[in-house]
Symmetry: C2
């Protein structure tokens, strides 16, 4: 990749590069005077601050300063919880003027430290913006405040027989705005595609307080296509709050499938996953809506922490890994028929791809099988402190990546109860996405040093990507060059400079500027 050609290109580009060294001033801390100003914009209870006049104890804002994993810790003095877009705009106008860094915060379930301050930036929490603005049952277009919780939205549209185009383990806490900001993938991506396709429009408050209203246009026509011109909203999908604050989301919700089934399969060897995927695709074609990989250690962990439905002891004997497979089709019995045929053909083969397969027999079993998969993240967090790498590598190398990492830690004397307890892998096979989790007793500099850049280089050696769906956040901002070319990083920096010339939006995240 790093050819002379690329180098030559960089020279061509350099005259156009931004000179932010001169214009970029240090960011300001929030002062009591700022709080007094915010009090003119927001009601009292929407301002949480350790500064006067309220001077709350810092424990009161602890939950906002610390991330879901307990790995990243900010030292914000102030959290604002606006209720309207207009309030967000007024806040941003002030912060822009005063050069105060701002961290947009949704459900704070992000896994890369993006949702908490690096230092003492202001936290702008969207939790109070949680109204559905409109729903059109004909087109399925849903318009909601960014702070709406994903699961609440699912519940809101369920009676209309629609579902959200995305689903993830954090659904009970994560917000639609956070989902869009991280371009969350999740469990339905194989079927409904990415948010770049399903988001119809966004309302965004830019760093200087300007409101970019892409919702209005879209609500008008309710199409899956953006209207004319550059599709600006796309810039904010996956920007992790570094270009602006998403305050409203318009999203296309698909009609609920007429029938869903799922099945869990125990595989004797990892090598069977790819042929199994191919066979399943052949038999099920487009009704295959999820194909999730779970390695043995991840499975055991989920079972240990009581997540969902386990198979019998004898059924899993000799299983090296598991696959959870879902179909969404036209009619339950027909799909079941197809799944049964698939199961039979898998078992009957001379060298069977699977040891066992269990089809869910009721809605409860269906949900329970999913809980097993979705519950892994939570099981991991119950077990210890996790270093989470959310990578994209060729499917065939999933196991190698997990094994090589474990071996590397062992060699470094770090694989024992007081350091790293487990190295596990699971993920969305359908999208080539592996969650590599290193479960430790505690976060320590030694473990981190052993893992980074080791893991990034390992991924690079497979031509993979270091961030398949969780984003870069604070964790991987410095490592962006592992998956982006120089030309791309340069263009990203210029776009950041264009939209956020003072560098106040979520500083230290995504890009090192």
């Amino acid at each position: 990749m790093w050819t002379a050609r690329t180098a030559a290109r960089r020279l061509v580009l350099s005259p156009r590069r931004w000179q932010h060294t001169t214009s970029r001033q240090p960011l300001s801390s929030v002062t009591p005077e700022d709080i007094a100003h915010f009090a003119k914009i927001l009601p009292r209870n929407a301002i949480l601050s350790t500064l006067p006049p309220s001077a709350l104890p810092s424990s009161e804002i602890e939950q906002y300063n610390n991330d879901w994993m307990g790995k990243y810790h900010g030292s914000a003095t102030t959290v604002l919880r606006p209720q309207t877009t207009q309030q967000v705009s007024e806040i941003m106008k002030w912060c822009y003027e005063r050069r105060i860094g701002v961290v947009p915060q949704g459900g704070n379930t992000g896994l890369v430290g993006g949702s908490v301050p690096v230092k003492d930036e202001l936290i702008l929490n969207l939790g109070n913006m949680s109204k559905v603005r409109s729903f059109d049952p004909v087109s399925g277009a849903l318009v909601a405040d960014a702070g709406c919780i994903l699961e609440s939205l699912s519940e809101y549209i369920a009676p209309h027989n629609h579902i959200m185009p995305l689903d993830l383990g954090a659904k009970g806490s994560c917000q639609i705005g956070g989902n869009v900001a991280t371009n969350a993938g999740g469990l339905r991506l194989l079927r409904y595609g990415s948010l770049h396709g399903t988001v119809l429009g966004l309302e965004v408050v830019l760093p200087d307080g300007t409101i970019l209203d892409n919702l209005t246009t879209i609500r008008k026509d309710n199409t899956g296509k953006p209207t004319s011109g550059y599709d600006l909203k796309q810039l904010f999908i996956g920007a992790e709050g570094t270009l602006g604050i998403i305050t409203g989301v318009s999203i296309l919700t698909p009609p609920a499938p007429q029938a869903t089934n799922n099945i869990i399969l125990a595989l004797p060897r990892f090598e069977n996953v790819l042929p199994l995927f191919k066979t399943a695709r052949l038999h099920l074609s487009e009704i295959l809506s999820a194909f999730e990989f779970i390695d043995r250690e991840a499975y055991e962990l989920a079972v240990k922490h009581g997540q969902g439905r386990a198979l019998g002891e004898d059924e899993v004997e000799g299983a090296q890994c598991f696959v959870l497979l879902e179909t969404s089709g036209g009619k339950k019995e027909h799909d079941e028929e197809k799944l049964t045929t698939l199961l039979e053909s898998l078992m009957d083969a001379e060298d069977p791809l699977i040891i066992t397969g269990v089809l869910s027999q009721s809605p409860t079993q269906f949900a329970s099988l999913w809980r097993l998969r979705e519950g892994i993240t939570e099981a991991v967090s119950k077990e210890g402190k996790a270093y989470k790498y959310d990578i994209s590598v060729p499917l065939a190398s999933f196991k190698d990546v997990v094994d090589t990492t474990r071996e590397h830690l062992r060699k470094n004397g770090l694989l024992h109860a007081d350091a790293v307890k487990q190295v596990i892998g699971y993920g969305h096979v359908g999208d080539g996405n592996l969650h590599l989790n290193i479960v430790a007793a505690a976060y320590t500099p030694e473990i981190e040093a052993a893992l980074e850049p080791f893991v990034y280089e390992l991924v690079a050696s497979y031509n993979g990507s270091i961030s398949a769906e969780h984003g870069l956040g604070a964790m991987k901002a410095h490592a962006i060059h592992y998956s982006k070319s120089d030309v791309a990083v340069d263009m990203m920096k210029r776009i950041k400079q264009l939209l956020d010339p003072r560098g106040i939006m979520n500083p230290g995240k995504v890009l090192e500027v």
Copy 2:
């Protein structure tokens, strides 16, 4: 929309506005010296020019200077037909240096004058870049040169049981690069979503010749998710060649549905379309993959020009409009069963929504029904010269828009055989998209004056969008404010200036800069 608030915002923004008046110099015409330089980059037969040394007659490049409708006419002297990305890069480097305007041209089937020069810009035709680079039958990721024709790609992947996620009447000529550049919608959008979701990666040559290679990363992981960071490729989807030249496309192709059926319905009244859509959604849920509206005049025109399968005379008696409905599901018989039940319930109603409905009985009939719908564009062009407005308005107003326009032309004395022959409407109901076509004997200033801004204002009065899928091109660059806010247009201009500081990429299109 144009509140004092917006005005205030604009003031805030103004200091950051670009001052291109001073830096923007006039563009240069291509000279014989340029041709001599291009001859160092390209083989002789890839350079078509009326300039020396070859000095071709202008008839030889006529087809490149004129658009599909014969409405827009450029006066380029030179057409280049590179074969490699490297050649495109060398060409752009030179044009950047020399400030020569460049029009990227795909299949030249665009309907808004985007693909031909406004003056004498250089035409860079992608037709010689037509190789498939790779296809992964497991993930469905297809990587192809931008110049590949849509239909050829469909044929390429058909044996692997995959289909392209988009389909349109121009498939035999339009190129995948042109599809991406226009963010083409088409006939499968309802089912597979927009190109913003299905395009995995792009290779783009920027105006200064820099190659932005987003393909490599994506080919690595074959995911439906962009990798980390801002999703730069999205900027080029729908930019109509004003930000760079797309040279390679990586796109996710879905598995072919296991079964497709279609049906044509004749409706007594336009008012029945919406209830019909609701009923169909209820019965067919997610297997409903297309729902196309055709008004009586559009239907007659298609039949007159021998496009596809017509219903019997008696079957269409009293029909005000037609609906073509497609299902893509798991099993042909099951879906047929559902369609039959739907048909029965429609006919049995006390006040039936339809007069008649005919289900296709064979692949030939299936194709023929589709040809009826797809052939309208061609039928229109056989009938006369069309003013095409590709708008998004609430479904309930489709008919009003067509009728009001016809009435307006009549009042202006323009509705007769020598001026406007017909005003017809058809479109993708599922996406709220109406094609309003005014079929005239010839393009004349009188008709244009009667139509514009009349149509744009009519659309605005319904809070609609003036460009649902065909783009803005040369036709609507001046009218962008009818569907975009000031803030959005301003941001678009700043992005244009950032990526194309010399304004050489497809000048006069999309934005008036």
